[in-house]
C-alpha cells in the first residue's frame, strides 16, 4: 500500500468541505475521483499534498505521516500537477529539470540531467526540448507538466483535471500516458476528472464524492446509473458499447 487516508476532514472558515474521507491506494493503481464542481475534489488533492492543512485525519505515504515530512521529502514522494498551468519564460528541458528541485542541493547533478532525459524520452518530448513553454500547444504543455512531476520520481502522482482543457486526441494521449507511467513505474495516480467515459476507459478504481463525503468507492461496479444519478443529479444509462461501458445521459 502506498497511500492511506484516514478520517480526513477540511473546512474553509464557516464552511465544511470534506468530512471523514477514508481510502487506500496501492502500487499501480489509477484512481479517478469523480463528483460535481465544488464538491472538494481539488481540496482533497491539496490536503493529500499538504498544500492545504487538513483539520482532521492523517495521510500516510508508505506508512509515513505526511505532516511529519519536510516539504522537500514530501516532494520526493508525492508529485502534484495543478489544474492551472503557468508558463514561465523557460524551455521544455528547463521546466522538466525543475522537477529535480527536491534533489538539487547547489547545482544539477549528472543524475538529474539523466532522469530529465529519460522522462523526456518516455513522454516523447525530446523533439521539443529547447522549445519555450509559451510556444507549446495545450496538450504539449500538459505533457511537460506531467513530465516535471515524473522527474520528481514520486511514489504517488496527483493530477487535478489533467484533461479539462484538451481536445479528444490529447485527452486520450495524456490519460494513456498516465496509465503507462503508473504501470511501468509501479506508482499510484490519483486523478480528478469530469468526463465519466474517459474515467471508465482509463481508470480501474473510482471514488465518487458527494456532499463532502465518499458516496461510493470501488472498481467499475460502482459506476451504476443509480450512483451516477445520485452524484450528478442527472438520469443516465450505462450501456456496453464495443465491450466498453458508456455512460449516456437520458
Amino acid at each position: 500500500m502506498i497511500l492511506d487516508i484516514k478520517g480526513l476532514a477540511f473546512n474553509y472558515p464557516g464552511r465544511s468541505v470534506l468530512q471523514d474521507i477514508n481510502f487506500r491506494v496501492e502500487k499501480g493503481d489509477f484512481l479517478a475521483i469523480l463528483g460535481t464542481n465544488g464538491v472538494g475534489k481539488t481540496t482533497m488533492l491539496k490536503c493529500i499534498n499538504r498544500i492545504l492543512k487538513p483539520c482532521e485525519g492523517v495521510v500516510l505515504v508508505e506508512n509515513v505521516e505526511v505532516c511529519k515530512l519536510s516539504r522537500l521529502d514530501l516532494a520526493k514522494r508525492i508529485g502534484y500537477v495543478s489544474q492551472r498551468q503557468e508558463t514561465p519564460c523557460c524551455t521544455v528541458f528547463d521546466a522538466i529539470l525543475l522537477g529535480r528541485k527536491p534533489y538539487i542541493k547547489w547545482d544539477v547533478s549528472d543524475q538529474d540531467l539523466e532522469v530529465t532525459q529519460q522522462v523526456m524520452e518516455l513522454l516523447e518530448l525530446t523533439d521539443y526540448s529547447l522549445r519555450y513553454l509559451d510556444e507549446l500547444s495545450g496538450g504539449e504543455l500538459q505533457k511537460v507538466v506531467i513530465a516535471r512531476a515524473l522527474a520528481q520520481e514520486p511514489d504517488v502522482l496527483l493530477f487535478d483535471e489533467p484533461t479539462s482543457s484538451l481536445d479528444l486526441k490529447n485527452q486520450f494521449e495524456v490519460l494513456k500516458l498516465i496509465n503507462k507511467v503508473v504501470k511501468s513505474k509501479q506508482v499510484a495516480a490519483i486523478v480528478t476528472m469530469h468526463d465519466l467515459n474517459l474515467a471508465i476507459r482509463f481508470a480501474e478504481k473510482f471514488l465518487m464524492l458527494k456532499d463532502g463525503g465518499i458516496f461510493a468507492a470501488g472498481g467499475l461496479e460502482v459506476i451504476t446509473p443509480a450512483n451516477v444519478e445520485s452524484v450528478y443529479s442527472i438520469p443516465v444509462n450505462v450501456e456496453q458499447f464495443g465491450g466498453v461501458p458508456v455512460v449516456l445521459p437520458i
Partner: protein, 349 residues
C-alpha cells in the same frame, strides 16, 4: 540531447562573461576619465600601487571607491529588483513601487529638517553640505526598514496577497511622500534644498568605509539570492506547483523580500535615491537571457552594475566639472534601451 542543452546553457554563461568583461572595461574607463585624465595603463599601475603619486592618490582615494560603489550598488539594486519581481509575482515590483525609495527620502528629510542636520554652502561642485551624514543615513535606513516591516507584516498577519503587496507599497510610498511634503512645507529654504539634493543620489558620497559596508551587504545578499535560485524558478511556475516541488513558499518569499529590502535600504541610505535600475535591469536581462534565475540573477546584477557605472561616468564627464544627478542619467540611458528591448519582445533568448 543533454549536449544541446549544454550548448544552450553555455550561451547564457557567455553572455554573463561578456557582461563581466564590459563592466570591467567601463570600470577602467571610468577610473581614467575625470578632471585629471589618465591612460588605462596609468590606472592599472595606480591600482596595483605603482605609477606616479598624483595619479595614485586620485585613483585610490577618489575614483576607485566611486567605481566600486557603482558596481556594487548597481548589482545590489538590480538583483534586489529581480528577486522582488519574482517573489511578488509582479513585473512592476521594485524599490520604487514598494515605497522603499519614498521611505528613504522621508527618513532623510526627517533627519535634515526635524533633527536639524542640514545646512548649505555656496560651491560650484557641491551646493549642499549635510552636517551629520551618519544621522541622515541612519534615519533613511530606519524608515526603509519600517516600510519593509509594514508590508511584510501585512502579508504575514493580514494575509495580503503578493500581488496586493505592490499596491500596499504604492500606498506606503504615497504616505511617505505626503509626510516629506508636509515637513518640507514648514522647513526653511536651505533645508528644503538639502533634502532635495539628498534624494538626487550620488555615488560620490561613499568613501572606503562605506564601500566596505556596501560590499559586505551586496555580496552576502547576492550569495543568498543565488542559493535560492531554484526556489525562485519554482515560484515562477505558480505557487501550488512550487509547493508541490518542495518549496516552502511563504518562508522563501518573506526571507527573499527581507534580504532584498535590506540591500536597498543600505544602498539608498548611503547613496540617496537611484531609481529605475531595480525595475529595468532584471527586465532587460529577462529579454536577453530568459527567466532562469540561475543565469538571470548574475546577469541582472551585472546589467545593473554596467548601467549605473556608465550613467555615473556620463554624469561626471558630460558637463565637467558639474556632476549631474546619476539617478536622472540612469533613466536617460536605460529608458530608450529598455523601450527598444520591450518592442523586440522575447524573440531571441
Amino acid at each position: 540531447m543533454t549536449k544541446d542543452y549544454a550548448k544552450y546553457t553555455t550561451r547564457k554563461k557567455l553572455i554573463i562573461l561578456l557582461l563581466m568583461a564590459a563592466t570591467l572595461l567601463v570600470g577602467l574607463y571610468a577610473i581614467a576619465r575625470g578632471s585629471m585624465n589618465l591612460t588605462i595603463s596609468e590606472v592599472v599601475l595606480a591600482i596595483i600601487g605603482q605609477g606616479d603619486p598624483a595619479s595614485h592618490a586620485v585613483v585610490r582615494n577618489i575614483r576607485l571607491p566611486r567605481v566600486l560603489v557603482g558596481i556594487l550598488a548597481g548589482a545590489g539594486l538590480s538583483a534586489a529588483g529581480c528577486v522582488m519581481q519574482n517573489n511578488l509575482r509582479n513585473p512592476l515590483a521594485s524599490p520604487f513601487t514598494l515605497g522603499l525609495s519614498h521611505a528613504a527620502a522621508f527618513g532623510a528629510t526627517f533627519a535634515i529638517v526635524v533633527l536639524g542636520v542640514g545646512t548649505i554652502q555656496n560651491s560650484s561642485t557641491d551646493a549642499v553640505i549635510i552636517n551629520n551624514p551618519y544621522l541622515v543615513t541612519t534615519s533613511a535606513f530606519i524608515w526603509v526598514m519600517v516600510a519593509t516591516a509594514t508590508i511584510l507584516m501585512l502579508a504575514k498577519f493580514r494575509g495580503v496577497s503578493p500581488e496586493a503587496m505592490v499596491l500596499a507599497g504604492i500606498a506606503m510610498g504615497s504616505l511617505f511622500t505626503a509626510g516629506t511634503t508636509i515637513i518640507q512645507y514648514f522647513a526653511p529654504d536651505v533645508q528644503v534644498a538639502a533634502t532635495i539634493f539628498w534624494t538626487f543620489g550620488d555615488l560620490g558620497r561613499a568613501s572606503w568605509k562605506e564601500v566596505g559596508i556596501i560590499a559586505v551587504v551586496v555580496v552576502l545578499s547576492l550569495i543568498y539570492f543565488l542559493f535560492k535560485r531554484w526556489d525562485y524558478n519554482a515560484l515562477d511556475s505558480g505557487e501550488e506547483t512550487a509547493k508541490g516541488l518542495g518549496v516552502n513558499v511563504e518562508r522563501v518569499r518573506m526571507a527573499g523580500m527581507f534580504v532584498a529590502a535590506l540591500t536597498v535600504a543600505v544602498l539608498t541610505s548611503f547613496l540617496g535615491i537611484i531609481g529605475f535600475i531595480g525595475l529595468v535591469g532584471p527586465h532587460m536581462m529577462r529579454r536577453i537571457i530568459g527567466g532562469d534565475h540561475r543565469f538571470l540573477i548574475p546577469a541582472s546584477a551585472l546589467c545593473g552594475s554596467l548601467l549605473l557605472l556608465a550613467s555615473d561616468t556620463l554624469a561626471r564627464t558630460i558637463m565637467s566639472p558639474v556632476v549631474l544627478p546619476v539617478g536622472a542619467i540612469t533613466s536617460f540611458m536605460g529608458a530608450p534601451l529598455f523601450l527598444y528591448l520591450l518592442t523586440r519582445g522575447y524573440q531571441k533568448r
